[in-house]
Assembly symmetry: C2
Homo-oligomer: 355 residues x 2
């Protein structure tokens, strides 16, 4: 039996982050978030930090989902304790007309970090590269920052769908070039974060988010140096559209905690060419409870997915344990160890002949 | 044919609100949001304001979803331009132990407003009363204000489910008493706003939100003075749980814009004793587009629900047009007129024999 089937693999979105004191120390040295992300040494160091503490089964590149619009010249910055901000929001026809797929050399720092991290990992675990989805990038590009109502980006969507489609096409081609360059630099899987797909109306999601995720997937390299590169798509709040996402040309779908894993497994197909592995979906707030409760909630998530197929020669759904969203900066680090160990222990038990 | 079947009825969540200049003028007179809500004259005046401008088919009591915890002694206030705040958040066992169903006399101002509004309406349109759901009240009671991660309330939920259940039971019994008193005061329908149900994990939604909505519904008066009182339940972000909500003992389910109305209609049953009317679900941001696009998006929502049953003697789904969430304070008032007229015109066309 292959190692990967002995237990359910686990990693955590934003696992290299502010909840770790060693991360905060490195960030203080770097001076700013972008100072951290653009420095190969720092990016490598913080990517590996959670792997030194926990028996995680994957590493994810330390970076941000908004590097592409920054390379387009919109001027990304992070004030301490606040979210991302762009100096130049894209709100009219003239601003959209200026957009183009950025020169990938401006994102060299990301590809250098990928190569450096891959080397530092020495094959311990695979390295996942990532990008924001075309729609999620557009949200930040139009709003200029986070938003709680998405008023500006949705105004453009409903008022000037032609501009929105133009921006999304450029974003999609940019994301594809960016992820392909990460693959060439050494990323062994790539993930598209559609963090804001879930804020769209039903019809708008298909037209303005999913269609452009498809446009990215159609351009991605299937393999690199003879090795298959799995592609992961995560739409936060996208549970209602799971059936449509089951048709995507990718290998893994990320799910947030609102989704019932048993239903999802049944819906995206137990077997067949398009059967997806499912990634998720513990509520990050579970990590504020005590260890016994963290263990119990981890077991509930594993049990709701159910026993994986034991015959690894057949295609079929696999579960990758994760949170349903990024880990909170307020998380007690010791509870992450409880979570990782509980995933391994409980899933091994599930896989035993008596389990 | 009854008047109600000539066109699809329409009203808007938060229709009496800050987007109306006459509302802002009255609020300025009242000095504060609670000054407005607790004064019978002001509450009546602002409730009727949108009905003077638009051909809306229902009025909704002007009040807030958080009046109950205020009556419990938690000290509700609204700073201008900010959300609600409680002076005394409920975060530990001692605070939960002190909670009880409030004396309904402390909410007399709400029931007086209902009676006054009902009188002022003179039968023009029905008056809807409302309350926050037990879970939504608990969110604010524990967080003490709005939240973007619900960390405190979910920490209590996962760490001390016993305390959470105790609080929710008290909230449910309070909501039931409160809505029954609104019905006695003259409310012709009542709506439960589960504004934050959608932030819960799948299993937690059933245990901590839906179960207590059921507890409220089980206690509500079915009729008043011989007239049936319809009960509406709206869970924002609850589309994934529609099948379970289809089993609720209520007449109408509110839906946000992420839900496909045709799917929802098929799912909650075309006919049968438990068939629900569906209310919703235009994205409020559509109202920032130009009039032609507002009309087109209204038509899409009506068409996605489809033709209503023409035979009103048979039970079956009815559509009540609404937004998928409260109207934005930034909405141009003239677009609301476009919306209301488009709903009436397009739905009349759909009901014509050739439509």
């Amino acid at each position: 039996m292959r190692q990967a089937t002995e237990h359910t693999p686990v990693w955590l979105m934003r696992q290299a982050g502010r909840y770790l004191p060693e991360y905060r120390a490195t960030r203080a040295q770097a001076g700013s978030f972008m100072g951290l992300a653009t420095n190969t040494g720092y990016a490598t160091e913080v990517t590996l930090q959670p792997l030194e503490r926990y028996k995680l089964d994957a590493a994810i590149l330390f970076s941000d989902i908004l590097t592409i619009p920054d390379a387009m010249g919109l001027g990304l910055s992070f004030a301490l304790g606040e979210g991302p901000k762009f100096a130049h929001a894209v709100r009219d026809e003239a601003a959209v007309a200026k957009l183009q797929v950025p020169d990938m050399n401006k994102l060299r720092y990301v590809f250098d970090a990928v190569t450096s991290i891959r080397k530092a990992l020495k094959g311990r675990v695979p390295l996942i590269g990532f990008s924001g989805s075309p729609w999620t990038l557009a949200c930040y590009m139009v709003e200029g920052a986070g938003s709680d109502d998405y008023r500006l980006v949705k105004t453009m969507l409903y008022q000037r769908p032609d501009l929105m489609h133009k921006m999304l096409a450029i974003n999609a081609d940019s994301v594809a070039a960016y992820l392909n360059a990460q693959i060439e630099a050494g990323a062994q899987a790539v993930m598209i974060f559609d963090s804001w797909g879930g804020v769209l109306a039903d019809a708008a999601f298909h037209e303005f988010s999913l269609a452009y995720t498809k446009r990215v997937l159609a351009q991605l390299k299937r393999e690199h140096e003879g090795v298959v590169i799995p592609r992961l798509v995560f739409t936060k709040g996208g549970g209602l559209w799971l059936e449509a996402m089951g048709e995507l040309d990718c290998e893994v779908l990320g799910l947030d905690w609102t989704v019932n894993l048993a239903n999802a497994r049944a819906l995206v197909g137990e077997t067949g060419a398009k059967a997806k592995a499912l990634q998720g979906n513990l509520d990050p707030n579970v990590l504020f409870a005590n260890p016994a409760q963290v263990e119990a909630e981890v077991a509930k998530v594993l049990d709701s997915f159910g026993k994986p197929h034991m015959d690894t020669s057949k295609p079929g759904p696999t579960h990758i344990f994760n949170l349903g969203h990024g880990i909170s900066q307020h998380t007690p680090p010791e509870n992450v160890e409880v979570l990782v160990n509980a995933v391994h222990t409980h899933s091994r038990k599930m896989r035993s002949p008596a389990g």
